[in-house]
Structure formats: C-alpha cells, structure tokens
C-alpha cells in the first residue's frame, strides 16, 4: 500500500466530485431548507424558536446526511468500473486496495464537507435568531456526521463487492441497526427490557452504536426532536436514549476505519 498513490487517487476522485453539480446541489438544497426552517422558527414565540431551529436542522442533517452518504457510497465504483477508469488506474500500477481506499477516503471527505456546510448554515441561523453559537447543537451535528460516516463506510464497503443499490441497502441497515442497538441498550439500562441484558450489552460493546448527543436526548424527552429522534416508548414507558460515552464514540470511529479498510480488501475481489 503506497500512501502517496492513495492520496493521489483520493484527491482526483474528490476533485471530480467537487465539479459534479449534484454535490453542489446537495449543499445548496440543504442550506436553502435550513434558511426556510430559520424563517419559520423566527415566527415562533419564546424558547420554541430554538427548538424549531434545532428540530429542522437535525432533520436536514439526518435525512439529508443519509441520502448523501448512500449516494456517495453507492456510486463510489460502479460507473468508473464499467467505463474502464478503475482498470486504467490498475494498469497504471495502482493496487485495487489503493483504489478502494482512495475512493472511500474521498467520499468520506465529501460527506463531511457537505454536512459541515449545513452545520455552518445552522450556526449562522442560530446567531441570526439571537442565540449566538449553539455549541450543544454543534455537538449533535458532529455526532450525526459520525453516524453518517458509518453509513457511508458500510455502503462504500459493500459497493466494492456488489452493485450500488444493494450497497445502499446495506448502508441503511447499518444505520438502522446502530440506532436500534442504542435504543435497546437504553431500554435495558432503564429496566424496561429485563431479558437478555447480557446479550444486549455484549452486542452494544462490539457492534457500531449510533452516537447520541445530550441535546438530542433532552429534546427527545420533551418530544420536540422531530424525525431525528422521535419519542420512544415501550409498554407505555418513555425511554430516554442515553447520550453516548467516550467508548461508544471511539467504537463508531473504529468501525468507520474497519469499513474503509474492508473497502480496500473488497475491491481486490472484483474484476476492474
């Protein structure tokens, strides 16, 4: 594995992504929706202005981030493999693992760029509404970027092995399972689920957990988080999804790394 070649391949893919209009569209559409959310929030009264902005912003980060992660991850290889570009790079001396890792890294950087631009728009909107820098929500934004990095990692890994749509399906499963693990772990911790506690803890300690910021837990309990964190009830009991600890954050980062490395390995099995 030659780091210089990986960097060159990643930079070229990132440059190509930057020049494709749909990446710009993703940034612009997200920012426009955030502006509309902010204008709507401005018509609210009292503290709900901030809740409205956070709810709308969290929805853009989650739903928009999912869409971008699935598209960037799913499209990482298929078209350029069919066109012969990946074969051309292999002929030039790039190992399949280098091509895979370069692509995965560039897609990850592109996802972070798009979502960071949305977070910047949310921060500006919070300032314009008179709340200054909403540091608590920025933490949630960073957590969502990490969660979407998991989705992208899972998607791009599978895209190195199978078709784009199936890879996207796998990426979605990664997110759903990561979120489900957090929900079930929280329910177990709060005594709402009493069976299989050991199994739940073991699964939670190994598989990727969705990273949860404190602000979203607090909003979820007040049922103002919207689609990003709908109110969770089991047998009529409200579950407070526990904010992530350092181990869970590190576990998510490790899983992103595992997915990226598996992408490098996956491409070795395909005909370029």
């Amino acid at each position: 594995m030659n780091a210089r070649r990986v960097a060159a391949l990643a930079a070229a893919d990132f440059r190509a992504l930057l020049r494709r209009r749909w990446m710009l569209y993703a940034i612009v559409v997200g920012v426009v929706i955030i502006v509309l959310v902010a204008l709507s929030a401005d018509t609210s009264i009292g503290t709900s202005k901030l809740d409205d902005l956070r709810r709308g912003g969290a929805s853009v980060l989650l739903l928009g981030g999912l869409a971008v992660a699935l598209v960037f991850g799913g499209s990482a290889f298929e078209r350029d493999r069919t066109s012969g570009h990946l074969g051309m790079m292999a002929a030039a001396g790039a190992a399949p693992a280098e091509i895979g890792l370069g692509r995965a890294v560039s897609r990850l950087v592109a996802l972070i760029l798009v979502m960071a631009s949305w977070m910047a728009a949310i921060a500006v909107a919070a300032g314009a509404l008179g709340y200054g820098v909403d540091a608590r929500f920025l933490v949630h934004g960073a957590a969502t970027i990490l969660n979407m990095s998991l989705v992208l990692g899972g998607t791009v890994m599978m895209a190195s092995l199978i078709g784009a749509w199936a890879a996207g399906g796998f990426g979605l499963i990664v997110y759903i399972s990561a979120q489900a693990i957090v929900n079930i772990q929280s329910a177990t911790d709060q005594g709402v689920i009493s069976s299989y506690g050991g199994v739940v803890r073991a699964v939670s300690a190994v598989l990727p957990n969705a990273v949860v910021a404190p602000v979203i837990t607090e909003m979820q309990l007040r049922n103002v988080a919207g689609p990003a964190a709908p109110r969770l009830e089991i047998d009529g009991k409200v579950i407070a999804v526990t904010p992530s600890n350092t181990y869970e954050v590190l576990l998510a980062i490790v899983w992103v790394g595992i997915f990226l490395l598996a992408t490098a390995g996956g491409l070795r099995r395909r005909q370029l």
Binding site: R4, R5, A8, L9, A12, D13, R15, A16, L17, L18, R19, R20, R79, D80, S83, G84, H85, G87, M88, M89, A90, A91, A92, G93, A94, Q271, L272
Partner: protein, 211 residues
C-alpha cells in the same frame, strides 16, 4: 525508462488462457508471443475475439487462468514492470469532472512520475488545446489523443494501445518509441497502416492465436 535499461525480453507470454467465471468458452485460449526491446506487435481480429482481454492481461488488470507472463524478465505484477509500462485505454475511461490535464497528472502520480509536464505530453499528441477542458466535454478525437498521451507518460519501455486512432502523432510516437528501444503493442479491429508500422501481427480467432 531510459535506453540503458532496455535489455532482455520485454514481454514473454506463454500459452495464456483466460477463462472468466461463467464464461462458456475461454476469452483467451493459449496465446503465446515474445517481444524484444524495439519490437512491435499488432493484435487484431473480429469483435469479441479477445484483443482487449489480452491487453488487460498484459497491463495486469486480468490475471491469466493458465500460462505464464513476464515483463522485462520478471513477474507482470511487479512494481518495476508496471512503472515501465504505458497504457492507452480504449473508449473514454476518464471520470467526469476531471480535466484532461488532471487525468494525465493522476496517471503520472500513480505510475511514479510526479514531475511530468502534462501540458507538454498533450502537445506531443496534438491535444495541447484541450488541457483544461473537462473530459466529458471532449470530442471523441480528443479523447483518443488523451488516451495516447496517458500511454506516453514517462516514455515507457513498453507501450500498449487499445484501439488507438491512426493520427499522425500516433504513427510518430510509435516510430520514435521503437527507435529508442521501446516495445509497442497495439490492438485494433481495423489494422489500417499498423501492420507495416509494427512489423508483426497476431490475429486472434475465438481467443486463440500465435504471433
């Protein structure tokens, strides 16, 4: 790169067989040939006869199911062999969004020639005017010139061109390359003036043929 390194056999292919998974018949069924420095070889035949597959074997993208292939006396996959090989692919294998110059810079970096003047290489193949044009907006002719330029980076010791167009620059570059000792392999369904230019012809028929 460099005439001082041009010793021994550039390509030795012995009984190369490629059987793709699920394929009823082999894509290549026992192809053998040998190229010394300065040799030329035209690979021709009907559509689907295995020309591109053979070239993909030579450039290391497809591994032979059977047979052996060595480049410059060593394994075809060895990094020193890859560095001495220039490949001009068929059609338009360039990712949209990149400029012609970006493609050459990328190939140069991957091949290990980071200081390459991409503009100068494009000038050599008559495509100097499209250096800053995005590849998806190139005319087909300019795409073929860009493909030729990709193969020339680093003045390699083995040039492999898949379905090149017969521009004056193509003929000039092949002539110059062979004169300095580089071996040249060209695959084309329409031989045109290539047989005379390259000297030897390998005609594939259902994946089989001997030069």
């Amino acid at each position: 790169m460099g005439a001082g390194l041009l010793t021994g056999v550039a390509v030795r292919a012995e009984d190369i067989v490629v059987q793709f998974p699920g394929g009823k018949t082999p894509a290549l069924a026992g192809v053998s040939f040998r190229l010394e420095p300065g040799d030329g070889l035209l690979v021709t035949g009907d559509e689907g006869c295995g020309k591109s597959t053979l070239l993909r074997v030579l450039v290391g993208v497809v591994r032979p199911s059977y047979g052996s292939l060595s480049l410059f006396g060593g394994p075809a996959q060895a990094s020193f062999a890859r560095r001495r090989l220039g490949f001009g692919p068929e059609t338009r294998p360039f990712p949209s969004g990149l400029r012609a110059r970006d493609v050459l810079d990328l190939v140069a970096l991957v091949r290990g020639y980071p200081g390459t003047d991409a503009g100068a290489v494009l000038e050599r193949v008559g495509a100097g005017g499209v250096a800053m044009r995005r590849v998806e907006r190139l005319e087909v002719e300019d795409s073929r010139r860009l493909s030729l330029a990709c193969a020339l980076i680093g003045d390699p010791d083995l040039i492999i061109l898949d379905d090149p167009w017969e521009f004056p620059e193509t003929i000039d570059e092949i002539t110059v390359a062979r004169a300095r000792g580089a071996a040249v392999v060209v695959a084309s369904p329409d031989p045109g003036g290539f047989p005379a230019l390259l000297g030897r012809t390998l005609t594939l028929d259902h994946g089989a043929g001997v030069a």
